[in-house]
């Protein structure tokens, strides 16, 4: 069977976990119709919410391993991994997978270590399943911030892999199922509970929160020229009620604060509109902004990656174009 670690919130199964389920189902079908199982961490004394069960059924999940244990009320990667290992052993998993979230990757790293097998992070495709059970699995995964694909061979016992965001679109199975719910309490030691969350703070909409939740982000890069070169960009973001986002080089040079950084190592944004001014579009940055619904690039170089990947572009110097846009906005308002 194939076990998928599922993360949930108040709305049910996270979209990324749904993607992982769809990905896992595809793999199960290719392997000759092996069953798809889900593993979800729940609260002691509570059934899995109906919405979760419905979503899992939609994905064709046969069984849900519902982990319930008092010790798991606070997140601990080692404890979650202990649960996955138990499932893998008890139900005979050939593949253990999860969404490539920070938590997914962390739990899988523990799981792979405990199972003493290899792990593939951020997988986007399966290249070879193998004719016989036990044949190595060959996957393609994202490396170098998504700019490069690596073909990787996994070990011959249990394959552990995380699924990169957007690797597949979540899709319903041809036939919905009614998943069987198997409650269980994993085998854990005290050591598995040492590194666990002792406090969770309030989600505060801080500055970077404003950036990740903004409908419009106006970005600027090296093309701004200096710390003083952002005033028009800031003004445009104010006129549109949006946030300012910058490329890594800008924070590196100390021109703008780090919480404004968009990219693989900064904030990943998915606004309705991203206006990228003077940003060439290095892969690190693209990784953070590619989910924007519409991208408008302003750049002197029509061949810059940001321009060729954008939906709309204006060619020229941001210091001429952005003030002109601001003036036009002002003019139309009055």
């Amino acid at each position: 069977m194939i076990a998928v670690l599922v993360e949930t919130d108040a709305d049910g199964v996270l979209v990324v976990s749904q993607e992982a389920l769809t990905f896992g189902r595809g793999l199960a079908e290719r392997a000759g119709g092996v069953p798809l199982h889900a593993v979800a961490v729940g609260r002691p004394g509570e059934e899995p919410p109906a919405v979760v069960l419905a979503q899992l059924g939609e994905q064709g999940v046969a069984s849900v391993h519902h982990v319930v244990d008092d010790r798991l009320t606070a997140y601990s990667a080692a404890a979650w991994a202990a649960a996955l290992v138990d499932v893998a052993h008890s139900a005979g998993a050939a593949v253990v997978l999860a969404a490539g979230t920070p938590r997914g990757n962390e739990v899988l790293a523990h799981t792979a270590t405990r199972l003493d097998v290899a792990m593939a992070a951020n997988v986007v495709g399966i290249d070879a399943v193998g004719a016989d059970p036990g044949d190595p699995l060959i996957v393609t995964r994202q490396v170098v911030g998504g700019a490069v694909l690596e073909q990787m061979q996994l070990g011959d016992t249990v394959a552990v892999l995380s699924v990169a965001g957007h690797a597949v679109e979540p899709a319903a199975a041809a036939t919905a199922t009614t998943p069987e719910v198997v409650e269980f309490s994993p085998t854990m030691t005290d050591a598995d509970l040492v590194a666990r969350v002792v406090r969770t703070g309030e989600k505060v909409p801080d500055a970077s929160g404003a950036l990740t939740s903004a409908r419009v982000v106006v970005g600027a890069g090296r093309g701004a020229g200096s710390a003083d070169g952002f005033k028009d960009v800031v003004r445009l973001s104010e006129l549109l009620g949006g946030a300012v986002g910058v490329s890594r080089v800008v924070t590196s040079l100390g021109w703008r604060p780090h919480h404004e950084q968009v990219g693989q190592t900064g904030s990943r944004i998915s606004p309705d509109l991203y206006i990228a001014c003077g940003i060439s579009g290095a892969i690190q940055h693209w990784a953070g902004c590619s989910s924007a619904k519409t991208i408008l690039a302003v750049n002197t170089d029509p061949d810059a990656p940001m321009v060729t990947r954008a939906h709309y572009a204006v060619i020229g110097d941001l210091h001429e174009i952005v003030p002109a846009i601001n003036d036009e906005l002002d003019a139309r308002r009055t």
């Binding site: 919130d9 490396v143 490069v148 780090h258 290095a282 020229g316």
Partner: protein, 257 residues
């Protein structure tokens, strides 16, 4: 007093277009040079902060070729006190092997009298993105580990680490010795000062060979994703394009009138 070990990796710099070696086994860094992952730059900053606050030392370690001494010196210039190069053919090393090689050094240093209360690493390497070395290292050393950490301090016998969780900012408290994987964003990495750089040059670097038969990374080959044909619609050149831009903004419903 906490002696900190911070583990770094020499990785290719970033650009808009990545080049691969002809055999598809590695990224060709000839135009972009070599650097550290951003996560590791923050880990170095945290390492020097913790060492400074507790009166301990910060040792930087890398597993790689002799060329990686360049990155060790960069870390020394940022305030690390000592440096260790574990010489290895990194192409043959997977995350299991890197973790084992680091664990060997930690044990050897412990035997020699330096025990690291805190081992810091980057959350994942900018090139291979395995997300595993910190966790595998922790198991090899039988120490607690937490990943995705933005800031951390050592308070007595506890490592207090903060990161972002799905429900809000999370705090972990781990007994020392512990392993922490750092994610960029909590601290601003520094650039070297002139004096730091001068000091770094004079530090003797400990060089050891990795006594490991590597299990490898499972890499078959690297490829570049197919470039999507550009669909861009050019609205105009220079300031003259402003009306077209504002038309678009209105069309997308971005302008409140």
């Amino acid at each position: 007093m906490t002696d900190v070990l911070v583990c770094i990796k020499r990785v290719p710099g970033a650009s808009g277009e990545v080049l691969l070696s002809d055999d598809g086994q590695r990224v060709d860094a000839r135009h972009v040079g070599w650097t550290l992952s951003a996560h590791e730059e923050c880990a170095i900053e945290l390492a020097t902060q913790v060492a400074g606050a507790t009166g301990g030392t910060a040792t930087v370690l890398t597993v790689g070729s002799a060329d990686a001494i360049e990155q060790l010196r960069d870390a020394l210039a940022l305030g690390c006190d000592r440096a260790v190069l574990v010489e290895a053919e990194t192409d043959r090393f997977g995350p299991v092997d890197v973790a084992a090689a680091i664990a060997e050094v930690v044990r050897a240093h412990e035997a020699a009298g330096t025990s690291y209360g805190l081992v810091l690493l980057g959350n994942d390497a900018a090139d291979t993105g395995d997300f595993q070395v910190p966790v595998r290292l922790a198991y090899a050393l039988a120490r607690p580990v937490v990943t995705g950490i933005a800031t951390c301090t050592v308070e007595g016998d506890l490592v207090v680490a903060h990161g972002d969780g799905p429900d809000g900012p999370e705090t972990f408290e781990l007994p020392v010795p512990a392993v922490v994987a750092v994610m960029e964003g909590g601290v601003a990495p520094r650039y070297p000062s002139v004096m730091g750089r001068m000091k770094a040059k004079k530090v003797a670097i400990e060089q050891v060979a990795a006594e490991i038969e590597p299990v490898g990374s499972g890499r078959v080959r690297l490829t570049l994703p197919p470039e999507q044909p550009s669909q861009v619609q050019v609205l105009g050149q220079g300031a003259d394009a402003a009306p077209a831009v504002v038309d678009l903004l209105e069309e997308l419903g971005m302008v409140s009138r």
